[in-house]
Amino acid sequence: MLRIEAKGLTKVFKSYNSRPGLAGAFRDLFNRQYRTMRAVDGIDLEIAPGEIVGYIGENGAGKSTTIKMLTGILMPTSGYLRVNGMDPHREREKFVRTIGVVFGQRSQLWWDIAVQESFTLLKKVYRLTDEEYKRHMGHVIEVLEIEELLTKPVRKLSLGQRMRCELAAALIHNPPLLFLDEPTIGLDVLVKLKIRDFLKEINRTYGTTILLTTHDLSDIEALSSRVVMLDSGKIIYDGGLNELRTTWGSEKRVMIEFTEPAEVEELERLTDTLPVTWQKENAVRFRALFGEEDVAVSDLLSRIISRYEVKDISIEAVSTEEIVRNIYQEGIVNV
């Protein structure tokens, strides 16, 4: 059974335009101009048990709307959707017992009371026995190192502390499917690392399927092998992170530092038979961009060494972030 199966999933929002000015506002009272927006536009998605999938896209691409449909909060406008074998919106109360959700920007703990009181309530909400709770949560609390935070009210926790407690709260009933909507937003590196390690561990021990949205691509690099990329409500890429790199990050770059100032024109003249373009960083630092993969760096060096003295060279790897930025800028779909 697939954890998530969506076919042609679509969500259309109706919103209204405000007319400008006082007269416009007055006209809006009687006659509103509506406009529809396809926040999620016919996406197909299949996620198998045990997968960790990164769901990325720019602000407003429709990530959160998708998550809200998958978790049963929003009703899809059209399309087929089964999550854990159920219709999330129609069978909400039964369905939500089988998922865990963390919204990075919203707390699901009760603000004014101690963390453990929230946990006790959630334990009752999910009808867990004391034994089940102790066995599972004892471990979660230990790994996330939140033991000493349990007696503090949520409002007194720092963001990193709160986030670890949120994660524990979402996993209290040990769900087979976990949704994380920007779980590491605003966290420092250490907390991020701790959360990533923890997610990897529960994926390994319980086979928990994880779907996470994030702006921080290093989260995805650390956790998942599969990426789903969304743009204007449509999936523009669905596949492995490595394929994404090899298809889009193949461009080789070499940063060269000379001992004395050089000229771009001169460098271009020296390498005019090679598929290389030059960028000037400053008077002595230049970047060579390779148009083709199989040009040897030594070939390039041998040509310029005759004219300039090279002080230092470094070969730059293209980061995933740059790849993603390029894809969005070029707006390509031909993967």
Binding site: I73, L74, M75, R97, F103, R106, D112, E117, V125
Partner: protein, 264 residues
């Protein structure tokens, strides 16, 4: 199931305890209200033995018990819901395996129970030292009253749920919530017993749910209603409990379909 609601009530107790200042200031505000109305009604009666079916002694009791009952049935569930909806917190409620409306009702009940035990009961004792309060003399009247009080809580909370749900449709219903508060205080008979209203107004108010919140239980407590009258009052209350279920449930169903989560 039951233990979950018990837990929700317990959590509300804890939350109330977290804000002690609210608790103390509430006691002062309610005492001032009861005191002010006591002197006001004394002046209005001015030696007359009976007005609007209440003796001056019954009137004092009515005022005191109405305010103390208000501490129990009153809650800000509508405001909390409006906030949940405006800030998009309702999304969190929807990923939990429970009914949002029942949970809100139970939170209100926890709040009401807290104030009943730590506020109304000691407050009533305190007030009876200062003003001449007449307590019901039979256990039957007491139990009818408590049953009636429970229903007044349910009716008031149902009205609050409906008002809160209106936020889904208007996005900002601060005005409606304020209007509702004044209407409930006025038409429920808290400020002025219904029997003091002109005939035509009484006739209209008979068909509204508000009298079931304060007037009916208040009249049972003072002993101004007896026998048959008590039964018909309880019947009116239970009819409203059932009637108000429908709009609350339908609005929630519709809201869930057309829901838009604010703020991403």
């Amino acid at each position: 199931m039951f233990s979950m609601y018990a837990e929700i009530i317990r959590i509300r107790f804890l939350t109330m305890l977290a804000y002690r200042v609210n608790y103390y200031s509430g006691i002062i505000v309610y005492s001032i209200n009861i005191g002010a109305y006591y002197f006001l009604w004394n002046a209005i009666y001015g030696g007359q033995p009976s007005m609007g079916g209440l003796t001056s002694q019954q009137m004092v009791t009515y005022v005191a018990i109405s305010w103390m009952a208000r501490a129990f049935y009153f809650n800000n569930i509508d405001r909390e819901m409006a906030l949940d909806i405006k800030e998009g917190k309702v999304a969190i409620e929807m990923i939990r395996p429970y009914s949002y409306l029942t949970v809100k009702l139970m939170q209100g009940f926890g709040e009401g129970l807290f104030r009943l035990l730590f506020f109304s009961v000691p407050g009533m004792l305190l007030v009876s030292f200062i003003f001449p309060i007449q307590y019901p003399d039979s256990a039957a009247t007491w139990s009818w009253y408590l049953f009636s009080l429970l229903m007044s809580f349910v009716i008031n909370t149902q009205i609050n749920l409906i008002t809160g749900l209106l936020t889904f449709f208007f996005y900002n219903n601060e005005g409606i919530m304020r209007a509702k508060r004044v209407i409930v205080d006025l038409f429920s008979g808290l400020i002025l017993p219904i029997s003091f209203y002109p005939e035509w107004a009484q006739e209209i108010l008979k068909y509204l749910p508000f009298q079931a919140i304060s007037y009916l239980p208040g009249m049972i407590f003072t002993g101004a209603m007896k026998g048959e009258e008590i039964y018909s009052a309880l019947l009116v209350q239970s009819t409203w409990v059932i009637l108000l279920l429908l709009p609350a449930w339908m609005m929630w169903r519709y809201a869930r379909k057309s829901i838009v989560i604010q703020g991403g």
